[in-house]
């Protein structure tokens, strides 16, 4: 790879549904353009229903964009979904585990689906069990695990193939303090290994602490994107909640005049 590639790049990405009840089109995403680099943690910040999950699902090839394009590691999500999926790890708050498989079996199963060689897979699973301190429950069925243990299993599953891009959809929702701490440490560790993490959250403090750059998203539009410092400068507000409110005000004023 001669030139440094962007981990994620989207251009005028849009997604429109037809609402079943009202029969009116719903614009979940409107012309969203963003980019993330390797070695960067990018946070998508916004209230519930802003379009964060839709963006992340388009990037993980589970939904198709209505218009615009999105590239992961330089590959179009629509053209080469399989190759894109090889390069990402995906985890969301609603992701479940197979209740009747053990964490070790879960990792082995998904490793096999990634086409890893048995020996390499074995070594990688052991490595992950070490890294996430999973040995004591590695052979217990997932249905009997605590929520923190489940969380660690899910994370290990997502990074099993050491993806260059990790997509996390509200990863800390529903976790207790300890588990949240684990998750934050984990995300920071990914930056150190020059990977890209794209995650969505509505928890402002998390974004402030973790993110290299932040994208603020509201009603399917990207209102602003940049480092915390840039955002502070842009809005004149100190903390993220103020920044967010200022951006929303500005966007509403803008849409009122046009």
């Amino acid at each position: 790879m001669s030139e440094p590639q962007l981990a994620v790049e989207t251009e005028r990405l849009a997604k429109t549904y037809l609402d079943r009840a009202t029969k009116e089109p719903v614009h979940a995403l409107k012309e969203l353009s963003l980019s993330c680099r390797y070695g960067e943690i990018y946070g998508l910040l916004g209230p519930n229903g802003a379009g964060k999950s839709t963006t992340l699902r388009i990037l993980s090839t589970m939904l198709a964009p209505s218009s615009g394009w999105a590239k992961v590691d330089g590959l179009d999500v629509r053209e080469e979904p399989l190759e894109v999926r090889r390069r990402i790890g995906f985890l969301s708050a609603t992701t479940g585990l197979y209740a009747r498989l053990t964490p070790r079996e879960t990792l082995q199963y998904f490793g096999a689906l990634h086409g890893m060689e048995p020996a390499a897979l074995e070594a990688r699973v052991d490595e992950l069990l070490d890294a996430f301190r999973m040995h004591e429950f590695a052979d217990r069925r997932c249905e009997h695990l605590s929520s923190g243990q489940k969380q660690r299993t899910s994370i290990a599953r997502a990074v099993l193939h050491d993806p260059p891009l990790l997509i996390l959809d509200e990863p800390t929702t529903g976790l207790d303090i300890l588990a949240t701490g684990d998750m934050i440490e984990f995300i920071e560790a990914r930056r150190d290994s020059r990977r890209c993490v794209l995650f969505s959250t509505h928890v402002l403090s998390e974004a402030e602490r973790l993110c290299d750059r932040i994208g603020v998203i509201h009603h399917g539009r990207l209102l602003a994107s940049g480092t915390l410092a840039e955002l502070r400068e842009d809005t004149g507000e100190e903390w993220l909640d103020g920044i967010f409110k200022a951006l929303v005000r500005r966007a509403e004023a803008g849409s009122a005049t046009t």
Binding site: Y17, T95, G96, Y98
Partner: protein
């Protein structure tokens, strides 16, 4: 790294998925116990219990005594003695009480007795309750003396009585008649036609047949229930568990996922089947109940293997259909809800094999489940016909392959994950969906409510069906399609090449506008009237052709209908059977439904035409009219599409029906003359002209 996965990869990944799914499935011990092991134990228990109950009932029947009052006063003494001897020789449940029954003879001679009368007769005998009367009437006017058995057929006693008394009496009468012939002619001519039957079938074949007659039904039921457990767990259960998203974000083609899961369902279904057969055979050999066809020598390995082979594609088909149903479902419960209808349809299709005299022929071989079931039976009986069996094998393999292809489509992330309808992006998809649904509901309504109305009064019921139900459905659908077209429909451009697209007005929704000018449609409609006789001739040829391999079964009683119609005048008949269906059915099928289907941008031309013709054919509710109504529907649909409006189809449909009425009523009109074929020319020429563009869209 950027290598595309080949088919070998797909298979390898499918096996990985299958392995994982198996592990998961087998770990759920409770579910396996309840869904697989319990039925294996329950079926024999159920059979045993019903057999015990049956024998209990049988014993009670045998112990029951039925008392009949007998008055043989009308018979000559020797004949009465013969009757008595014959009846009293039997020691089964019926007992006779010889007594005179006052007035019975007079009543039986003149009119039909009623129950009151029977009760009167029965009660005047010392408080004894007689279940029936046997009264002899003397010979009269050359007619022989008659024995009347009076009973109440709506009760066990009456039914038992009639079967136990009438048989011996008829046999006696026959013997006496035979004797009379012998006395007159020296020999009874009928004797030389008496025969007994001898079954030359080898015991192995006979047992194989007995086994093969009920195995297909059991196979279908068990495969469905056993496979459903796995199908629902691997497809709908995955979704409920929240792991589907994870699975779909793996770098694995969806087809590999579908195949892997499918393999698990297939294996579970087969395992359940084997388990059930073993449990049945075991409990039968332990003497728990009788299993027909389990003789000293079994059917033999060769036959079992052959039977397994011919049924294999059906096993694949059943599992694939299960996966398809389960993958469509959004939850475990929804998947479960599809199961009962599927089971009932499966059982209905597998049932022909239970009749020993139904032969596997080339037509039946094409019917899914029915053909292979018959082949399975024949394989067990040792008389498999190779050609139809191969056809059954091939056709069900094709069905199975089609079903398998559908599974991968159904495992589409877009459909499964997005809660709002993603179809909104295809203009008019909702409109098309609504049209499909309305057409099916209309068929059900015509079948149920219309059938009921017509049983009350044929003529007015038909009027109400056509002008109420059919027209109502057409208008409702047109209005709903217009209102519900949605902003998405309006926003997206129509498929200009096809010349159909979003619905613009109520007239458009019913296809009753006049693109290309009124005169064009008047000309078309007029020419359609002249084309109708030729079309009617073609229809007759089609029906004749069909009757060669699918004749109307005898015994269909059409007389009441014919009688009801005789009273109608010719104009009334034409109005009822030609003009009414011409207008109302066209408005529904070629109008609202076809237009709604065309509103979908991706639909193409042929699928909507075929669908509406198929529903139109099904509405006519008979397998014997399927081909003719389907062809007619297809033709009318094509004409409507080509002319851009409904008028021609209405005229042609009405005139076509009128031909049938006129042929029947006006014999002087020779509609079967070959020259009528020239009448099709104007219509054909007019239709050759290009289809006019639809009106400008707003």
């Amino acid at each position: 790294m950027s290598r595309r996965p080949g088919s070998g990869d797909t298979l390898r990944l499918a096996l990985v998925v299958a392995k994982g799914e198996f592990r998961r499935l087998l770990r759920d011990k409770k579910a396996i116990l309840l869904a697989v092991v319990l039925p294996i134990l329950a079926y024999p228990a159920f059979l045993l219990a019903s057999q015990k109950l049956n024998s209990l009932g049988q014993r009670q029947i045998e112990e029951r005594e039925v008392l009949v009052a007998r008055d043989l006063g009308g018979l000559p003494a020797p004949l009465a003695e013969a009757v008595r001897a014959r009846l009293d020789a039997r020691d089964e449940g019926v007992r006779f009480d010889e007594r005179e029954i006052a007035g019975a003879r007079e009543v039986l001679e003149t009119k039909a007795p009623d129950k009151e009368r029977l009760r009167d007769w029965a009660e005047d005998a010392r408080g004894e309750a007689y279940a029936g009367l046997l009264v002899a009437l003397a010979a009269k006017d050359g007619a022989p003396p008659a024995l009347h058995l009076v009973f109440d057929g709506a009760g066990e006693d009456g039914i038992a009585l009639s079967t136990q008394v009438l048989g011996p009496l008829r046999q006696l009468a026959d013997e006496l008649e035979s004797e009379a012939y012998a006395a007159r002619l020296g020999a009874d001519p009928a004797v030389s036609f008496a025969f007994q039957s001898f079954d030359a079938a080898p015991p192995k074949d006979r047992q194989g047949l007995a086994l093969g007659r009920f195995l297909p039904l059991i196979a279908v039921l068990v495969l469905l229930s056993g496979g459903a457990f796995a199908a629902i767990d691997t497809f709908a259960g995955e979704r409920e568990q929240g792991t589907l998203e994870t699975l779909l974000s793996q770098p694995v083609p969806t087809i590999a996922l579908a195949w892997g899961k499918y393999l698990v369902v297939l294996a579970t279904a087969i395992a359940a089947w084997i388990g059930n057969v073993v449990s049945l055979v075991l409990s039968a050999s332990l003497g728990l109940f009788d299993l027909p066809g389990l003789g000293v020598e079994g059917p033999g390995t060769a036959r079992i293997l052959l039977a397994g082979l011919v049924f294999l594609p059906t096993v694949v088909l059943i599992s694939a259909s299960l996966c398809f149903l389960a993958a469509r479902a959004r939850s475990f419960r929804e998947a479960q809800a599809y199961l009962l209808p599927a089971t009932l349809v499966g059982a209905a299709l597998a049932s022909p094999a239970a009749a020993a005299d139904v032969q596997l022929d080339l037509l039946l071989a094409l019917v899914p489940l029915a053909g292979p079931s018959l082949a399975l039976r024949d394989a067990f009986a040792g008389n498999l016909q190779w050609l139809p069996a191969a056809l059954a094998f091939l056709s069900s393999s094709v069905y199975a392959a089609l079903a398998l292809r559908r599974i991968a489509v159904t495992l589409d992330a877009e459909r499964l994950l997005a809660s709002p309808s993603p179809k909104g992006m295809d203009a008019g998809a909702d409109t098309a969906q609504r049209s499909i649904r309305t057409a099916l509901v209309a068929v059900a309504a015509v079948y149920l409510a219309g059938g009921w109305l017509q049983s009350l009064d044929l003529v007015w019921g038909l009027v109400a069906t056509l002008w109420g139900l059919v027209l109502g459905a057409a208008l409702w659908l047109a209005r709903a399609n217009l209102r519900g077209r949605g902003t998405a429909d309006r926003a997206l451009p129509a498929n200009a090449a096809r010349g159909v697209g979003p619905i613009t007005s109520l007239k458009d929704a019913l296809q009753v506008c006049t693109p290309g000018g009124v005169s064009r449609h008047v000309a078309l409609a007029l020419s359609a009237v002249f084309a109708a006789p030729a079309l009617a001739q073609a229809g007759r040829h089609l029906v004749e052709l069909q009757s060669r391999f699918l004749p109307l079964p005898g015994g269909a009683d059409l007389e009441p209908i014919a009688r009801a119609l005789e009273s109608l005048s010719l104009p009334a008949l034409v109005a009822l059977f030609a003009i009414s269906p011409g207008i109302t059915e066209e408005l529904l099928f070629r109008g609202a439904v076809l237009r709604g289907l065309f509103a979908r941008a991706r639909a193409g031309i042929l699928p909507p035409l075929v669908f509406q013709a198929a529903v139109f054919a099904v509405m006519h509710a008979s397998i014997h009219r399927l081909a003719i109504t389907f062809s007619l529907g297809l033709l009318l649909g094509a004409i409507t599409y080509r002319s851009g409006a409904l008028w021609t189809a209405i005229a042609l449909h009405a005139a076509y029906n009128a031909c049938a009425v006129l042929t029947d009523r006006v014999p002087t009109l020779d509609l079967a003359h070959p020259l009528w074929w020239l009448g099709t020319l104007p219509l054909a020429l007019l239709l050759l002209r290009p289809r006019p563009a639809l009106r400008a869209r707003p």
